[in-house]
Symmetry: C2
Subunit: 344 residues, 2 copies
C-alpha cells in the first residue's frame, strides 16, 4: 500500500455497492497531493442583498413547507422549489402505471411527472457555509431532511426520495446561499436499482451486508461513535468520500437526534479536510437511500450512505458512453492523505 501512485499499474475495480467498474489510471494523474481545484468556488450572481434565501427575503421565495424554529428568527427553512422538476399536482392523472404514450407509437414508457422538489435553506446568513455550522446545527439540517422525507413518504406514488447538495458553480449550483435539495420521484431511478442488485449479490455470496463489511484499514479516513468515513474501494472520482452508519440501517430517516449530531460532527470534519486539502473545491453530496417501499427480504442488504464528490476533473465522451469513470487517484492514497491531515 505504500507504493507511490506514479509507479502503480492501471487497474479496473468493481464496487459491489455501486455495481460499476472504475478504471484507476495513475498515468493520467498529477500527484494526488498536487490535485487542487482551479474552479471559482461559487457563482457570483447572488449577493446577499438580492438573495431570496436570506432572512428577511422570505417573500421572494416559493411557499414554505416548514421552518426551524417556527418563528421569525429561523435557523433553517424547507421551501418549495420555484422551478420544480416535478409537479405536486399530477398525482391522479392517467397513465399512472407507466403505460406507453400513444403519440410515440408505444415505443417507450411514460409516467406523469408527479413528485416533490424542495429546497432546504441551511442557514439564514448568506456568507455561512454548511461546514461553518456547529455539529448540532448540521444535525438540525439532517433532521430537517428526515422530517421532510417522513412527510413525503405518505404519498403512495412516491417510490424514491433523493436528497442532494450542490456547492459551487461547477458542481451545478445556481444559488450561492448554502442550501440542499430534495426530489421525490414516482419511480426507482437506475442507479438505485443497480446498487440494490449489487448489494443483494454481495449478500448472496457472503451472507453479509456490503456496507456493514466496508471498514478497511487502508480506506479509512475518520470515524465517530456511530459513523465511519472512507475513500470507497472503487471511487469514481478522485477524493470521493463515503460516510456510512456503522450500525445496519436501510433508511436515512431512521436517524435520531443523537446520531444526527454525531453525523454532523463527522460531516463537518470531512468537509473541512476536503476544503483544506483540495483548495475549497466545488462539491456535491448525495444521500443514497433505499426505495420508500422495501420488502422484508430486501432489508438485510439495504444500507444507506452519504457520498461526497469534490469536482476536480471533468468528464468526456468515454464516461458518457460507457458509464465507466477514469480515476487517476487510488482510494488508499486519497484516504491516507485525508486521514493524516490535521484540521487546525
Amino acid at each position: 500500500m505504500a507504493t507511490p501512485p506514479q509507479t502503480r499499474s492501471p487497474e479496473l475495480r468493481k464496487d459491489p455497492v455501486t455495481n460499476r467498474w472504475v478504471i484507476f489510471s495513475p498515468a493520467r494523474a498529477k500527484r494526488p497531493s498536487d490535485f487542487k481545484s482551479k474552479s471559482p468556488e461559487n457563482p457570483s450572481n447572488n449577493s446577499s442583498s438580492s438573495c431570496p434565501f436570506c432572512i428577511g427575503n422570505e417573500h421572494q421565495c416559493a411557499p414554505e413547507i416548514f421552518r426551524v424554529p417556527p418563528d421569525p428568527n429561523w435557523k433553517l427553512r424547507v421551501i418549495e422549489n420555484l422551478y420544480p422538476a416535478l409537479s405536486r399536482k399530477l398525482e391522479h392523472s392517467n397513465a399512472q402505471s407507466g403505460d406507453s404514450s400513444s403519440d410515440l407509437g408505444g415505443w417507450g414508457r411514460v409516467v406523469p411527472g408527479f413528485g416533490f422538489h424542495d429546497v432546504v435553506i441551511e442557514t439564514p446568513v448568506h456568507s455561512v457555509q454548511l461546514s461553518d455550522l456547529e455539529p448540532s446545527e448540521i444535525g438540525d439540517v439532517l433532521i430537517a431532511y428526515k422530517r421532510r422525507i417522513e412527510q413525503i413518504k405518505q404519498f403512495d406514488s412516491i417510490k424514491y426520495i433523493q436528497v442532494f447538495k450542490n456547492h459551487g458553480a461547477s458542481a451545478g449550483a445556481s444559488m450561492s446561499h448554502s442550501h440542499s435539495q430534495i426530489i421525490a420521484l414516482p419511480i426507482v431511478p437506475p442507479n438505485v436499482s443497480a446498487r440494490l442488485d449489487g448489494m443483494k449479490e454481495f449478500l448472496n455470496q457472503t451472507g453479509k451486508c456490503s456496507l456493514c463489511e466496508v471498514q478497511s484499514k487502508d480506506l479509512l479516513i475518520n470515524e465517530t461513535s456511530h459513523f465511519i468515513s472512507i475513500a470507497p474501494f472503487a471511487a469514481s472520482f478522485p477524493f470521493e468520500i463515503w460516510i456510512t452508519p456503522r450500525y445496519h440501517s436501510s433508511h436515512f430517516d431512521e436517524l435520531d437526534k443523537e446520531k444526527a449530531v454525531d453525523l454532523g460532527r463527522l460531516l463537518k470534519l470531512i468537509l473541512k479536510k476536503m476544503s483544506l486539502q483540495l483548495n475549497n473545491p466545488p462539491f456535491n453530496f448525495m444521500i443514497h437511500d433505499s426505495p420508500v417501499q422495501v420488502t422484508d427480504s430486501e432489508l438485510p442488504y439495504s444500507h444507506w450512505f452519504l457520498q461526497i464528490i469534490p469536482q476536480l476533473t471533468g468528464v468526456g465522451g468515454f464516461e458518457l458512453g460507457s458509464g465507466c469513470y477514469i480515476n487517476p487517484v487510488f482510494p488508499d492514497d486519497a484516504a491516507k492523505i485525508l486521514r493524516e491531515l490535521n484540521v487546525p
Copy 2:
C-alpha cells in the same frame, strides 16, 4: 405535438435502448429556440505551431499505429495516447479473471488495467473541424475507426471498444486539434450491459429490434439511404441526437466504404445544424457498439448507433446520485427545430 413547450406538464420517460428514466421538465427550461451555448468553443492552450497533432509535428507524438494515406502527406493518423488510461503491456498479468484483491479484504473485484487507448487525428490541419471535411473524408475517419477496431478485436481479453469524440473544453477536450479516441476495455462497461438488457426486453415483448423500430415521424431529423437521425424518445440532454443504421447491424465494423460515406454525409449535416442552431456548442459523440463477443441469441437485438450530446447544461447532485437526468426540452420539440432548419 404542436403544444408549445411551456404549457406541457412534466413527464418521466424510460427508453428501452438506454434502459434509463429521464425527467422532462419544461418548467426548468428557457424556450428551446433560446437555448444557446455560452461556453467558449475550444481550449486555448494549443496554437497550431506547438500542436503535436499538426502535420510536421509527428515526432512530438506517441507512436503511430497507422496513417491514411501511408505517406508523408497524410490526411489522418491513428496514434497511441501519450497518457493512456490502460496499458497495452498488462495482458498476461495475473488475476485476469477478475479475482479479488487480497489487500482490500476481497471486498470488490479487481482486474489488471490491460487495454488500448488510441487517438485518431482527423485532419492534418489545426483549424479544420470534423464538420468542415467532405462526406468522403468523414467516411475515411469512420473507416479508420473500423480498421482499428478490427485490429484490437484480435485480442481475446478485450471485451468492449469505446469510440468517442470530445469537442471543446467543456466537453472535456484538452486538445483543440480535431481528434477522437478509442479505448478498448477488458470488461463490458455498465452502460453497455444495461443497454443490452433493455434491448433484449424490448425484443422479448415485441419480437422486434428496438432500434430497427425507432423511426417515429415526430422524432425524425434527417435521413439518408442507409441512416436515420432522430431526437431520441428519452433524450437525457437537450438536443441530444442519435444516428443509427436503418439496416439491422450489431457491430460498427460491419460498415463498408459506401455506407461510411453515406454516414459521413449525415453526420456532417447534423453537426452543421447543431452548430448553427446552438451557437457552435462543445459536444461529445459516442459510438454505442455491441460487446466484441456476442452470442447468436444476442444478435437479433444488438444494433449499434452514434449518440451526439451538445454540452448546454451542467449536471448536479441529483443526476450524480440517481442516474436520472432532468431534460428541459422535449425531444419532439428539438427534432422539429432541427428538422426544419435550413443549412446554407
